[in-house]
Symmetry: C2
Amino acid sequence: MAQQIEQLILALQGKLDSAAILVGDAVDPRYSDDLSHEVSHRPEIVLRPRNTGEVAEILKACNAVGQKLVTQGGRTGLAGAARVQAGEAVLTLERMTALSPVEPATATVIAEAGVPLQIVQEHADAAGFMFAVDIGARGTATIGGNISTNAGGIRVLRYGNFRAQVLGVEAVLADGSVVSSLKGLAKDNSGYDLSQLFIGSEGTLGVVTRACLRLHPRPVTQSVAFCALPSLDAAMELLKFLRARLGTLLSGFEVIFDPLMSEMAGALGLQPPVELNAPVYVLTDIQGMSPETDETVFAEALGQAIEDGLVADAVLSQSEREFQTLWALRDDCNTYLFGLEPMLSLDVSLPLPRMGEFLALAREAQRKADPSGRDYIFGHLGDGNLHYCVKTDAPDAVARAVLDCVARTGGSISAEHGIGLDKKSYLHLSRSAVEVAAMRRVKAALDPNNILNPSRIFDMTA
Amino acid sequence: MAQQIEQLILALQGKLDSAAILVGDAVDPRYSDDLSHEVSHRPEIVLRPRNTGEVAEILKACNAVGQKLVTQGGRTGLAGAARVQAGEAVLTLERMTALSPVEPATATVIAEAGVPLQIVQEHADAAGFMFAVDIGARGTATIGGNISTNAGGIRVLRYGNFRAQVLGVEAVLADGSVVSSLKGLAKDNSGYDLSQLFIGSEGTLGVVTRACLRLHPRPVTQSVAFCALPSLDAAMELLKFLRARLGTLLSGFEVIFDPLMSEMAGALGLQPPVELNAPVYVLTDIQGMSPETDETVFAEALGQAIEDGLVADAVLSQSEREFQTLWALRDDCNTYLFGLEPMLSLDVSLPLPRMGEFLALAREAQRKADPSGRDYIFGHLGDGNLHYCVKTDAPDAVARAVLDCVARTGGSISAEHGIGLDKKSYLHLSRSAVEVAAMRRVKAALDPNNILNPSRIFDMTA
């Protein structure tokens, strides 16, 4: 065992329970799990605190001996931020799963970092509220991980990303000191909002231990439409039309391009809701409070869109079962693509007015980089966020080609998955040298020994 | 003239136009304006850049000679952050008032920092959208100042505070380098969201020069009710009831306590909308997209609230004119109180479940601190935000007494006005020593020579 690990164990003796420190054979292989095909190391030590005080003891001890750590939530990240690097200890929040009762007056709940997203969703629902972020990994992904990656998903269009759901966090800094903003105040301008630092910084600035989360009134009505459209331009017009017509009723606006839709339907044996002969499909839904009128308003808007030629064909859910069935098509995209290999999966966002320009450029560049590659594109069109996947034997060349087009059309190389270890080499396409330098200065200020998720997002030396 | 100022002028020679540097008699007294009664210094030099490049030149030059600056927007701040301290140069964004056309696909607009809030509101309205933050100082307060103070106002309940309206900012760091996030992307997780650093940090971390602002669909319907209520408890129940019943229709929920309401009506000769014999009044409104149903839904909800005894009496606006007239009562509170002297004005927020406990404690403490003081309380009850004003000859003792009650009930000593120079001595009541230390570390990382709005929020040495 490395001497440093022995020092660490010594320093933590008596401060944690016996289940809190795993070494040697006791280290379960799950801590080395990673969704990518990259090499993950088996950690020499896994630290499993039960509460914020124990996290503080652990960081204080690690900081003293210069022990680097990687913090793990549900390990469902798609950029390798939680993948173990050589010499890193694992800090897992898996034992911190407490959840407060919902506070109805403020519509808030306080969750420990290790609570899975779906548990928060169900907890809110049972109290008559809704937690507004939803992503495919809901059953495993944790609140701490969601905060660290500023998770997005299918309802950002209406409710904002994870940042918008966080009233405040409690976090442990690298030196073991604790900052806390769990008061549940809608307004608090007493100095810097430190919570913002920890949202989306992928565990590099501190370890989030608890969060006060904002809930929304649970919608009374929901209804989804699956639409076949003649073009991307029509989809953009439909989005603009529905936003203006439906206001906040509009909750989701997802796109699936062909050939993904028809191939997937064939491969998974799906009963397609409309005839599959269009280049673009849109899943769009509403959530409202007025059973008498919401669905009529939605149906009338879609009727108008068909009349105006924006939509070629559409099916509107008539029941909760149909709502779930239609929405399942969206999750099916992931199911289908996970089964195809070798698959390059990019997660990009574009300014909506330049989406068409980007797609034309990117498809051309992608085909030049790998003429036999095949693209499967879907995503959150309402947010300008596409999951651009390519079945290719030349993933690096294709990634470079497509991400270069993202940069040329003013987009981001990571819309919601983050940078982690895997997108680091492309960060310069989205962020200037000045911006990365500013990030380094903030990182050095809060974690001077660089022990927290080191080398994620950027390296400390240029 | 101080030697340092001479060096600065020399360094900037040829880089700015002649109207960009004011010294001596050319310095208009307005740059020393301040809404408080505190002493403001006449600055030796006022710098008036026309664009971001010029701001960068100015900061680079100031940083090189260690010249401290105070950045000014509309000078409507209520915590003294823009008040000139001895030796400070003034940097004013008053010449940076460009505004892009509204981008309808993304519902965004890019504004330079010097644009007054009201201009953005009107610009959005003319394009069929709405800018969601509104405050009394809309005609003078600028976007840059609003961002620096994370302005709140009357619609935070529904749309969030200023932070929620900002997709990204461009800012100049103390060393003159420029960071920019004006792409207008709803999702961008490529590294730290640096924009968040500049929102609410009162100009201490950088100078915001431009912002990409999020707009909302312009509501088709709006309607406001003025209600007399039997108690604060009833107001809290009404809020909970309306949130659950109206969902996102509910846009504002303001409170005016007696004696403010009846005194103000008498003094300003107002025609009261209901008989003024209640302890608590609530102004609450909706904004929606369905002319056929929204007002009915609102009226039925209020009818139910009257039946349930939550509301004693209510008037619902029946026209745009009545809407404006009822809402004017809220602005009248400020008009009336600005005329009363000597007035202590506190801006606090509380966890909603402890609002009643706070008010009981605070009124007792306030009366103990000054038995002849008279409290006038109103504010944004939906956000837990009260403007707690006291006509008193012992403002320091009363402020200490009331803010101590804020701390004891888990609140914030500044809900929306910020800390600036004037609330610094109370910051410890809201934020721990660890938190203030973390703020100092971030400040030192980005502004190592402490030239930007120095000593606002906190001093660099404890």
